[in-house]
Amino acid sequence: MMRLLRAETRKLSTVWSTYVIAGIVVLIDVLAGVAFAFAPSGRHGGAAGIVPRGSLQWFGNVFSVLDTARLLALVLGAIIITGEYRHKTVTPTFLAEPRRGRVITSKLVASFGGGLLLGLITMLTGLVIGFVFVGVGFHSCVTFSGVNQGMSHAVCGLRQGVYYSASVHTMLHDWWRIAPGVVLGTGLFGLYGLGLGALLKNQVTAIVVGLIFTLVIESIVGAIWPTIGEYLPGQAATALENAARSTVSNTSLLPWWGGAIMLVIYGVALAAVGTLTTVRSDVT
């Protein structure tokens, strides 16, 4: 089992697609983070539609994009198994380890680990973005906000220091609030992607089905039947993230552990069904 896991790790580290996926995570975080930070109105902009820059809610908006990494974890999980079929490396794999259940088990672990790593990458990117925003200093003398115009440099410098430490504290507060949930949710979405891939075998089909289900079908089901919606993978992952999120009302979400259990069930059950059907079938 350990050698299968080592092989899976090497499989991921020796192809460029893994790095592209990680790069996309960072790119989305940066682009969307900047967009949400400086858009005329924030995502969760209160009654007036404007969130004060540097506020807890403002950082919440900037970090709200970080959980998009879970979609890429889904893609990564799907690629881990469907790539073997696509490039026909499944033949040498099953020749080296003919016990296919073991191969799938090691891939489940690898996709969870890969997902966790993507979750870490997205949260670290968020942290860097946060520090950059604080550092650029929207409250400082050279800021584009124009708040401090006309102040003397000494006063300005003092205020800058105060605001800097206050902003870092605010930023870290919001970051910590979502970090464990995002990392775990992203990891479990890797598991979910692997399950889909094991069942559907075709790479494009698995990715398209996974993304459409998460982005479209879940929203529709969630809107019509919220009680069913909360058990679906995307909502389950959101539940994880909202564990400590008191600012967002989460009436139609499972408790965080419920979300984790649902995601494990999705990943393992899909992979088990896939192993008994698709994976067990003849390799020709």
Binding site: A7, T14, H87, T93, T284
Partner: protein, 337 residues
């Protein structure tokens, strides 16, 4: 000592296609066994069942008494080169082998050894996506050899190899099969499937011929060919005198298409008569039945189903030739085949 035993091996795809039908055969150690048959005869399916990639509908095929899926270290028992086996194009040759070695628990030092063995050392850090067909075949072979197996299975190994590559493969397989196994027994089992009969004829010692999923013939290639027809064809201006002289020597001879054809004769019988009678010779061709024509007679002359290769250019007759097993000249000027 390595063994392969197939008993009642059957594979049905869907309701109608019986790909392999109650096949019995044994692996023969110490030589190269040719697994021959027209396309669709069930060669690849049989080999894939042997390797646990395809599940038999009924019957079994065992390696050292075990199903491949239950072998403790399968790659250290069996090495397989398969046609539809793939590589991730972005991976280097070396990384591809390292991954397989890791999965199979084989030390990574074997990776460079095997790349050296197949002549890919210079390309080991290149991406497989840029490899030619022949290089991919060599890389597949290197992968098969990672575990130092006593059984080597190759499905259409000559595909994509240039003539030098085929010659190299031939020598390599002959050498590999003759090596003593660790237990000091009769030698290794090497099975190759092929539709290139002229190539197979040069490589194989034993043949297993399949048609429509059934065993058509099994045995030593020499024995199978020994029982076949031979003839001597002579072109001479003194045709009539030669025919009479051969008849005097109790040999069957007729004049056909400008040649004196002596059926069932050897050049050793015919040449002294011609010297004795001072008959001028322009051409003398000794023909034995080739593996190809033997194959056609065994497989019911299904010539049209075969993939056209250089050796199927039809010297023995056209596709609709009612006599499929026509002798074909194989050697010139009396040299024995």
């Amino acid at each position: 000592m390595p063994t392969i035993e197939a008993r009642g091996l059957t594979k049905r795809f869907g309701a109608h296609l019986l790909a392999v039908d109650h096949l019995d055969f044994d692996g023969i150690p110490g030589g190269v066994t040719g697994f021959l048959g027209p396309n669709g005869a069930g060669k690849t399916t049989t080999l894939r069942m042997l390797l646990g990639l395809v599940t038999p509908t009924s019957g079994s095929v065992r390696i050292d008494g075990h199903n491949y899926r239950h072998l403790p270290q399968p790659m250290e028992r069996v090495g397989a080169v398969l046609e539809a086996s793939g590589f991730h194009p972005a991976r280097t040759a070396r990384n591809h082998l390292k991954i397989v070695a890791t999965m199979a628990g084989i030390p990574h030092s074997r990776v460079d050894e095997c790349l050296e063995l197949v002549g890919l050392s210079d390309s080991r850090d290149r991406r497989v996506g840029g490899f030619s067909m022949g290089m991919r075949q060599r890389l597949e072979l290197a992968r098969a050899l990672l575990g130092k197996p006593d059984i080597l299975i190759l499905d259409e190994p000559a595909n994509g190899l240039d003539p030098q590559g085929i010659a190299w493969l031939r020598d390599f397989l002959k050498f590999y099969a003759s090596q003593d196994v660790s237990s000091g027994a009769e030698g290794r089992i090497v099975i190759i499937s092929s539709h290139l009969l002229s190539e197979a004829q040069l490589i194989v010692d034993d043949v297993i011929v399949l048609t429509n999923g059934r065993l058509a013939a099994q045995g030593k290639l020499q024995d199978l060919l020994a029982g076949s027809k031979r003839a001597v064809n002579v072109k001479t201006p003194d045709a009539q005198r030669l025919v009479e002289a051969l008849h005097e020597a109790n040999l069957r001879a007729v004049l056909r298409h400008g040649y004196v054809v002596c059926d069932g004769c050897t050049p050793e019988q015919v040449a002294p008569i011609m010297v004795d009678k001072r008959i001028e010779v322009h051409e003398m061709v000794s023909s034995t039945e080739s593996l190809e024509s033997l194959f056609f007679s065994l497989t019911g002359g299904e010539r049209s189903q075969l993939t056209p290769g250089g050796n199927f250019s039809g010297e023995g007759g056209g596709p609709n030739d009612p006599v499929p097993a026509a002798p074909r000249p194989t050697t010139s000027m009396g040299s024995q085949s």
